[in-house]
């Protein structure tokens, strides 16, 4: 079997059994990135030299029969929002174009400790603000299924890199759908874990109360494996949960028979493309055949979700992004006349349009006299949404819907209409507002493009979400075509 056909878990087995060396694998993927990424543009920074060093270390250990981590030697790509010590971390922004972090975040540390060679930092929408990856200072990412189309966003680079076979697996982050929506557009598996399951220490904040790092992989088993690597309590993150974790790679092997799930009515009808609904409904039938009990539920508060999200996220962002002011690090204009000019010009030249739009939105929503009408109301809606989901989970194990209303759209199609762009997050934002685990699993094609099946579970049911994801995967036998079609 060729290296490209192996999943991350399979690669790990072959590296441990010395059928393959980590160095061979890294070299293989480096070669593939070199030949493909000129067009796809998934990488902002490539770090093959670092990856090779890590690979050699793993190989040396294995050669000496020393203990290595379970998935040691399998290369990975990391969204450029995750801080990596000594390796440029730009957040796809001009303002951090040359920022080299002096520390490792918790997830980056875990990746290194687990011996995963880092191939580079992946493209994204600037500061994770966007749904098409067109808001990157480093240029848009192309969808490996069709280079005229967007890969989704904000973790578009991560999704495209995995789908194109530039890396076996990748890390993304999800604030309102930023893992699941691009996973859906690119035909891969993406999981946004329960809020607090994965440390945010070292994840550059977009909206602190919504952000979560998660795996983006070719299949569910890889997602479970990568989650095992990155999840866990972290004393450096005060919102991190201190709980015992199940073994996700074992959990996905369990049967889904008698799982009781419900289709979210508001997200599975009007406003969703017909092709998508067809795929979704076909998948439901197959799940039913596998013994899953399927009903329908109405979650009326869903209609507030998008508005609440687009107030809360920008409000937090307006504060989180205040630190980029040209004073201590990052982009700074030359010869400022005074402090105010230094601030204003560095920020207006350093940030892209979408980031500025959201900073203004958020600043406004928090302003004296407007707080209650905007931010305060959004918080109330958020509480309602959370309560509604909690009640739903008293009856159902999991809730499902399509991940996106449309398949991957064309580059440039929605850039001029932010509201239309924001609508692509309509199915995904609720899980972030409620802090719930949610996955997108490919479940077929519509007009030749991948369709994502979204699963949402109660807090800390990540293992259940993954278990149903596995059932969807088994039922649909989805094929990630670009892996073979894109030749290096």
């Amino acid at each position: 079997m060729e290296i490209i056909e192996l999943t991350a878990v399979q690669l790990a087995q072959k590296i441990r059994s010395r059928e393959l060396s980590s160095k061979e694998v890294v070299n293989y993927y480096a070669e593939r990135i070199r030949s493909l990424d000129g067009e796809i543009n998934a990488f902002i920074t490539q770090s093959f030299d670092i990856a090779l060093k890590q690979a050699e270390e793993v190989d040396k250990k294995i050669a000496k029969s020393e203990e290595v981590a379970p998935y040691a030697g399998v290369p990975i790509g990391i969204k450029d929002l995750i801080v990596t010590k000594g390796l440029r971390t730009t957040c796809a922004s001009k303002i951090l174009e040359n920022f080299i972090p002096p520390y490792d975040g918790t997830v980056a540390r875990k990746v290194k400790e687990n011996g995963l060679p880092i191939m580079g930092k992946l493209n994204m929408d600037e500061f994770a603000m966007g749904s098409s990856n067109e808001n990157s200072y480093f240029g848009p990412v192309k969808n490996p299924w069709d280079l005229q189309r967007v890969p989704g966003g904000s973790s578009g680079g991560s999704a495209a890199a995995v789908a194109a076979g530039e890396v076996p697996w990748a890390l993304g982050s999800d604030t309102g759908g930023s893992i699941r929506q691009p996973a859906s557009f690119c035909g891969i598996v993406g999981l946004k874990p329960t809020y607090g399951l994965v440390s945010r220490y070292g994840l550059v904040a977009f909206a602190s109360s919504l952000d979560q790092i998660g795996p983006m992989t070719r299949n569910v088993e890889d997602a479970a494996a990568l989650l095992e690597i990155i999840a866990g309590h972290d004393p450096f993150d005060a919102t991190s949960l201190d709980v015992d974790l199940p073994k996700f790679t074992e959990e996905i092997k369990k049967d889904v028979k008698d799982l009781k799930i419900a289709v979210i009515k508001e997200l599975s009808g009007e406003g969703i493309d017909e092709g998508i609904l067809n795929c979704f409904n076909n998948t439901l039938k197959k799940l039913e055949d596998a013994g899953v009990i399927i009903e329908e539920i109405s979650l009326p508060s869903t209609s507030y979700a998008l508005s609440a999200y687009y107030l809360i996220a920008p409000a937090e962002a307006s504060s989180n992004l205040a630190r980029y002011d040209g004073v201590r690090y990052g982009y700074r204009i030359e010869n400022a006349e005074n402090m105010l000019e230094l601030y204003m010009k560095s920020r207006s030249e350093g940030f892209g349009d979408e980031v500025k739009r959201r900073i203004m939105l958020g600043t406004y929503a928090l302003s004296a006299g407007y707080y209650e009408a905007f931010y305060g109301k959004a918080l109330k809606a958020r509480r309602l949404i959370r309560q509604e989901y909690e009640r739903a989970f008293e009856t159902y194990d999991l809730l499902v819907s399509p991940t996106t209303p449309t398949v991957a759209f064309k580059l440039g199609e929605k850039v001029s209409d932010p509201l239309k762009m924001y609508l692509s997050d309509v199915c995904t934002v609720s899980a972030n507002l409620a802090g719930l685990p949610s996955a997108s699993v490919p479940c077929g094609l519509s007009e030749g493009f991948p369709v994502g099946f979204q699963i949402i579970g109660p807090a800390l049911s990540d293992h259940l979400v993954l278990r149903l994801s596995k059932a969807v995967e088994d039922a649909t036998q989805f094929e990630l075509k670009p892996l073979k079609e894109l030749k290096k």
Partner: protein
């Protein structure tokens, strides 16, 4: 004319509220592991990615700092909010690494307390509006001719102080005079020192004070337009700054103008307040709940535990000193103003049967020597036992008060026991009558002129004669006794 008189004459009164900040001396900063005691360190040496607010870092609250804030709030008789929360206070300033300060807003740790103070006019209760916890900012150094930001060639930032736990204490507008404000600050300082949460060094900035001031026609129930005065960072500055500002407001009002709501800066060098920013330039801080932290729940159990561990506070201690040791109220007040002094006094007072005499020695001799040698109680060699021994020597008439001063100085210098000093140097008072009489006769014989003067009615001549006897005995005689004896001898002859 004194300010008080002036106000009275014009029919006005001042309304003052204070906003005090004190840095907590915990081991580590508020949200990271860097040391919190940073004064005097090389710039930017006590920093890490977290307190520098680097992208991706997160704050994790220092539990000790939270407990200490509860302690302060309890000492100020506050109600502790069971549910407390951090908020972000958003504004741009280069001394703030994140361009927001993690502070508290509508759920501070403590609310609705009070502190009793004692002014020249008696006891008064100043209500405490709130006590909350936040992080300190860094420090700017403006390099240029004047050291002011507007005229600086460039500015340097030291982030050592950024993230040091900072407690904000806000009073109600219960303070009426600059003196009350000063006494409040002094009392608060001694409370904080007793709690051992801060070194309260105003020069080093670990205790800072801003004030809100307004004036109104006496008896009015509504408030006048207030100004906020910043940089009142010594007791003197606080008193002088308030005096200046109240006078300025009074003059403004009396000349028919209106006080403008603004923030003013106390210029200590020129002894005046100057406009810092007007109301229009005030920030909209856009407070919102800090999403990087979960709300704090401070259980009744924890509160009660902290309450039970509170040390005796100065005000209570003062009452107890008066009750247990029957010392003068004024002396008790001074003794409890410093924790170490109070402890030193109490130890000595317990060993002695004349606590007032112990207090006298501490408040005169000891304070004098401490001042002279610029040390404090923790660094001295003289012990409480020495003080009580000295009192015993005095009480029993073994030494005169003049000799006592000498013995004290020696004991202070060497740490030797006063009894030993008296013995070694033969300083015991001459209480042997015959011996004293023979010395007196000697002096009378040597000074016939003085004797003659006395007999001719110049009564003050006796002072000279007593002095001569004291000189001959190297101070070891009891001057009172010498006086009596001379009178007795001369009137019998």
């Amino acid at each position: 004319m004194s300010l008080e008189k002036l106000l009275k004459e014009k029919g006005y009164e001042a309304v003052i509220g204070l906003e005090i900040h004190t840095e907590l001396q915990t081991n580590s900063k508020m949200f990271c592991g860097c040391p919190a005691r940073v004064f005097g360190l090389e710039p930017n040496t006590a920093v890490c990615p977290i307190c520098l607010g680097l992208p991706g870092t997160l704050p994790v609250p220092n539990q000790k700092a939270v407990e200490w804030t509860v302690k302060i709030a309890l000492a100020l008789n506050c109600k502790i909010n069971e549910f407390s929360q951090f908020h972000r206070k958003n504004y741009f300033y280069p001394d703030m690494p994140k361009n927001y300060q993690i502070s508290q807003y509508d759920y501070p740790i403590g609310v609705n307390g009070y502190l009793e103070i004692e002014t020249s006019k008696g006891q008064k209760r100043i209500r405490i509006h709130r006590v909350h916890l936040e992080e300190d900012t860094g420090k700017l150094v403006h390099v240029g001719r004047t050291g002011r930001i507007s005229e600086a060639e460039y500015s340097l930032i030291d982030f050592n102080r950024a993230g040091v736990p900072l407690v904000e204490i806000v009073t109600e507008a219960d303070i009426e005079t600059p003196e009350e404000a000063k006494v409040f600050m002094q009392t608060l300082r001694s409370v904080l020192l007793t709690l051992e949460v801060s070194d309260c060094n105003m020069e080093e900035g670990s205790l800072r004070c801003d004030a809100n001031v307004s004036i109104r026609p006496k008896g009015s129930t509504s408030f006048g337009t207030k100004t906020e005065i910043k940089n009142l960072n010594s007791f003197r500055a606080l008193e002088k700054g308030l005096e200046y500002e109240i006078k300025r407001q009074l003059e403004t009002v009396l000349s028919g103008k209106k006080v403008v709501q603004e923030t003013r800066h106390w210029d200590d060098a020129n002894k005046r307040t100057v406009t810092l920013r007007t109301k229009e330039e005030a920030h909209d801080y856009r407070y919102f709940p800090e999403p990087d932290m979960v709300p704090m729940e401070i259980s009744t159990q924890i509160v009660e535990k902290i309450r039970s561990e509170l040390p005796e506070l100065p005000f209570e201690k003062k009452k107890r000193f008066i009750r247990e040791y029957s010392i003068k109220e004024k002396d008790a007040g001074i003794l409890v103003s410093d924790k170490e002094m109070a402890e030193f006094f109490e130890e000595a007072a317990r060993l002695s049967n004349n606590p007032q005499a112990v207090a006298n020695i501490i408040l005169s001799e000891l304070l004098y020597h401490l001042n002279e040698s610029d040390v404090w109680f923790s660094d001295i060699r003289i012990t409480p036992k020495h003080i009580s021994d000295l009192v015993n020597l005095l009480e029993s008439g073994k030494i005169s008060s003049k000799i006592a001063k000498e013995v004290f100085a020696e004991a202070f210098k060497t740490g030797k026991n006063p009894e030993e000093i008296v013995r070694e140097r033969g300083l015991e008072q001459i209480s042997d009558d015959t011996m004293l009489e023979s010395i007196i006769y000697e002096v009378l014989n040597e000074n016939p002129q003085a004797v003659k003067d006395f007999k001719e009615g110049k009564k003050q001549a006796i002072g000279f004669l007593v002095g001569q006897v004291m000189k001959k005995t190297q101070g070891k005689a009891n001057p009172q006794m010498v006086n009596e004896k001379i009178l007795e001898i001369l009137s019998n002859n």
